[in-house]
Every structure is written in C-alpha cells, then in structure tokens.
C-alpha cells in the first residue's frame, strides 16, 4: 500500500522545525508503524539524508518509550495501543498521515519526533515512592488489602509513563500521569504514611514543570494506551484538597528532595 507521510523534522532543541513530506510506495499491512518508519529511514540513509528520529525500546507496548501524534491522535487511532503495537493494517492505501511530536512546554522537542519527558521523572522524584524500613520482610498476608482497592491500585499502576495523556490534553496537563502515580500508592496501606505529603509535592511539581490544569475533558483517558481512568484525577484532587485544607501540618514541596 502507498502511504504519504508529513513528518515534523527538527534538528535539535533550539532550531525551528518544519514538516517534510515522504511517500512510501510499498508498505506491507503487516508492518508495525515503527517498522514502516524503519523502512523510510533505510531509504533516507541510502539517499544520504538524515533519518527520522523517533523513540522506541521494547516494541511490545510495555516500556513507554515510543509515542508521537498521528493525525491528531497520540499513538495513532487505535484504542489502548502504543504506536509500536499499531500496525499498518489499521490504515488504508493512499492514506496521508501527519506525524507530530507530543506538544507541550514541559516536553521540549529533542529531535524530530523525540521529546524530553524527564519532567515526568521529576514528578516521581517528588514523592512517587514509599519509604520502607529495612529489616526482615513481614508475612505477606499481614497487610490486608480489599479486592476493590487492589484492583484500582493495579489499574493505576499500569501507567507506563509514555506521556500520551499530556499530548492529548487540550491544556497539555499531566494530571492523568501524576494522578495514576499518586493513586496506585494512595490506595494501598504501604502508601498511607506519606499520602498527604506525596500528593502535595507531586502535584506542585507537576505545575512547576509547566503542565496545564485539568479541565476534565477526558481526552487523556481515551488516548491512554493502558486505559488509566479519569477517576484517578478526581482522587488526586480530593487528596490534594484534603491535605491542604484538613490534613496534618507538613513540610513544603521543596523539602521532599529533588
């Protein structure tokens, strides 16, 4: 099948980018989207041109490395699918596809379709962990967790940190990511001691990184390859308000390190 691509090309962080058009005449429907780009890059290399930079690692949909925007949809048109798991059979002969990097002030473009997502790591550094005393492990059944909480925590923990939620959000908010990372700890007993401090520090770091506010549009939930739910954001909002209005006195965000 024939596919025409309009790809965002940008040499580095400081240069201005622009769209370049490429046509591939014999794309197999069995190729993954990234394999199709591999073929394009092979052709570009042979022609002595700079290949299109895109991020990828496992190509199994679990690492969170890949991701760019295809015709206005992060990771492409299929639900709960990362771009590495998207196959060309989802498109048809003659399709025109516009490939853009995730657009957000907090995600500066490094090159072409590769963006710097270390802002997400810094949010984690501000409290996305539990502090556990060393010593012998306790009995696995000593801490009881209800099935409902366990399911919700596991669902939130499925977040691979790809950043599609930010890309999809009209406000470029990182609320879905941040709330997933807060929720999967807030729902479990191990996350309770630091729950209030965690939500304040992580949410304020989210804001400091330049992510926008959440308007509850719901774009993120649809774009998320792991089906992270919008209710996590509601839980984060509630926890934040509780911590700020009714919670125990706590140190400021900066005292949390990072």
């Amino acid at each position: 099948m024939k596919i025409t691509l309009q790809v965002w090309r940008q040499a580095d962080k400081s240069s201005a980018g622009n769209f370049e058009s490429y046509t591939l005449d014999s794309v197999s429907e069995h190729m993954s989207f990234l394999e199709m780009l591999d073929v394009l890059n092979e052709e570009l290399s042979v022609q002595g041109k700079e290949p299109v930079a895109f991020e990828h690692d496992c190509r199994e949909g679990i690492c969170g490395s890949c991701g760019f925007v295809i015709n206005g949809r992060p990771h492409g048109p299929n639900p709960k699918t990362t771009v590495c798991q998207l196959h060309m059979r989802s498109f048809k002969d003659g399709d025109q596809l516009v490939l853009e990097p995730f657009r957000a002030a907090a995600f500066p473009v490094i090159k072409d379709l590769v963006v710097d997502r270390s802002a997400l790591d810094r949010i984690i550094q501000h409290g996305g962990y539990v502090s556990v005393n060393t010593g012998n492990p306790q009995d696995a059944n000593a801490l009881l967790v209800s099935k409902d909480d366990s399911d919700k925590a596991m669902d939130a923990a499925a977040c691979i940190g790809c950043g599609a939620c930010v890309a999809a959000c009209p406000n470029a908010s990182g609320s879905l990511f941040t709330s997933a990372k807060i929720s999967h700890l807030a729902l479990l007993p191990q996350g309770q001691p630091e729950r209030e401090r965690r939500v304040v520090a992580m949410l304020e770091q989210h804001d400091a990184e330049g992510f926008g506010p959440c308007s509850q549009h719901g774009e993120c939930e649809v774009a998320c390859p792991k089906g992270i739910k919008l209710t996590n954001i509601a839980r984060m909002n509630g926890d934040y308000l509780w911590a700020q209005l009714l919670g125990s006195p706590r140190v400021g965000g900066s005292a949390d390190g990072g």
Partner: protein, 229 residues
C-alpha cells in the same frame, strides 16, 4: 495554617475554586429558574414573588455579595487557568482530532463569555433601574407604591421584542452548555472519585442543567411568541 494563595496557585486548587464558585452560581440559576416560572402564573404571582425577594433587604444584600464574590472568583480564576493552559502548549498541533472530550467541554471558553455578557445585560435590563427606567428600555415602570418594580411588565415588554427575546433564548442555551460541562467536571474537581457517587451526582446535576436551560428558554419563547403577555 491554610495557605489560600498556595492552593489557588496550584492547578487542582484553582479548579476547586472553579468548582465551588460554579456550584454556588449553578445553585442560584436553579432557584432563579424556579422563581421565573411564576411568570406563567400571571402578573400578580410574579410581582408578589419579586416583592417577596425584597422583603428582607439584609438577606438580599448577603445573597448578592455571595453571588458577586462567586462570579468574580470564577472569572478571575478562569483567567489564570487559561493563561496556564496556553503556556503549557505554546505550539499547537497541525492536526487536532478530538476524541473523548465533549462539544460542551470544548466550548466552555465560548459559552463562558456568552453567559457573562448575558449576566451583565440581564442585570442592566431588569435589576438595576433605580428610577424605574432603564437606558436599555425606557418603558419600564415601578409598581404602584413606588419602590417595587413591576417585574412582570418589565420582563414581558423586554422579551416580546424579537431581538431581546432571541438573545435571551440563545444565551440560555449557552448557559445550558456551560452548566452541562460544569455538572460533568465539578464533582471530579472536588475529589468525588467513587463511580457510584460520581454517577449519581452527575446525573442530578445534568438534570438540573437541562431544567435550568429548558425552563428559561421555554419562558423566553412563551413571551416572545405572545403566549404570555
């Protein structure tokens, strides 16, 4: 101590301000719409209702102060949030394909200013006419006795003019869109995360949004086409 400034500066805190102030204003529109229905009962019922609202001046003043505070908080916080979100995405996408968001969520920035314009004109039309006249409409009159305005007369003369009538209908449809997204978003902004609680709260709020918009639109249409005069 509670650090109000810090909460307001945070994205979740600002959204909570939007939710609480929006909830107050939403609640007001429900009561206002129910009061409006007195028009269908005739001149006397409407004017009695108007007089009843003015019976305790202190209560009226407190209500107005609360509403004005909520309105100012809603508008000012929204300006901050819009700036934050514009800063968060300096470069727009070439192709935007919405999926998951709703028409009313995406049009909040249009429906909001429509509602605000409507509020200002509506107050100038029918509330602040200290000498019984109004620069937007000279035919307004005070009720016999001097202080209470003839609300029924003022409302029907205003809305029977096609331009004003159509504007009131459109503005209330805009209000409906605005409340629709409000009903959807405000509980989440305030931290209601249980599926069942969220479902019930949103269903109730959506029903009220339909009632407010629908009630007001019906009323304006009834006057516009001359069913009520």
């Amino acid at each position: 101590m509670i650090d109000v400034g810090r909460i307001w500066r945070s994205s979740a805190g600002a959204k909570a301000v939007m939710a609480v102030s929006g909830m107050i204003l939403f609640g007001f529109t429900v009561v206002h719409m129910l009061g409006n229905l007195n028009v269908f009962l005739g001149r006397e019922a409407m004017n009695d209702y108007g007089a009843f609202l003015h019976e305790v001046p202190d209560l009226l003043l407190v209500t107005r102060v609360v509403l004005l505070t909520a309105l100012v908080a809603h508008v000012v916080t929204n300006i901050k949030l819009m700036q934050d979100s514009a800063k968060a995405r300096p470069q727009a996408y070439k192709v935007v394909t919405p999926k998951g968001s709703t028409l009313y969520s995406r049009t909040m920035r249009i429906s909001g200013p429509i509602v605000l314009t409507f509020i200002v004109l509506h107050l100038l039309n029918l509330t602040f006419h200290p000498v019984g006249k109004n620069w937007l409409h000279p035919d307004f009159r005070l009720q016999a006795g001097g202080h209470a305005p003839d609300a029924f007369h003022n409302l029907t003369t205003l809305l029977s003019q096609p331009l004003w009538g159509i504007f009131y209908v459109l503005a209330n449809l805009g209000l409906g869109l605005h409340l629709f997204h409000g009903a959807f978003a405000m509980f989440r902004s305030l931290g209601v995360s249980g599926d069942r609680q969220l479902g019930s709260a949103r269903m109730a709020a959506t029903g009220l949004a339909v009632a407010v918009s629908g009630g007001n639109v019906l009323l304006a249409l009834a006057i516009l086409v001359g069913l009520v005069k």
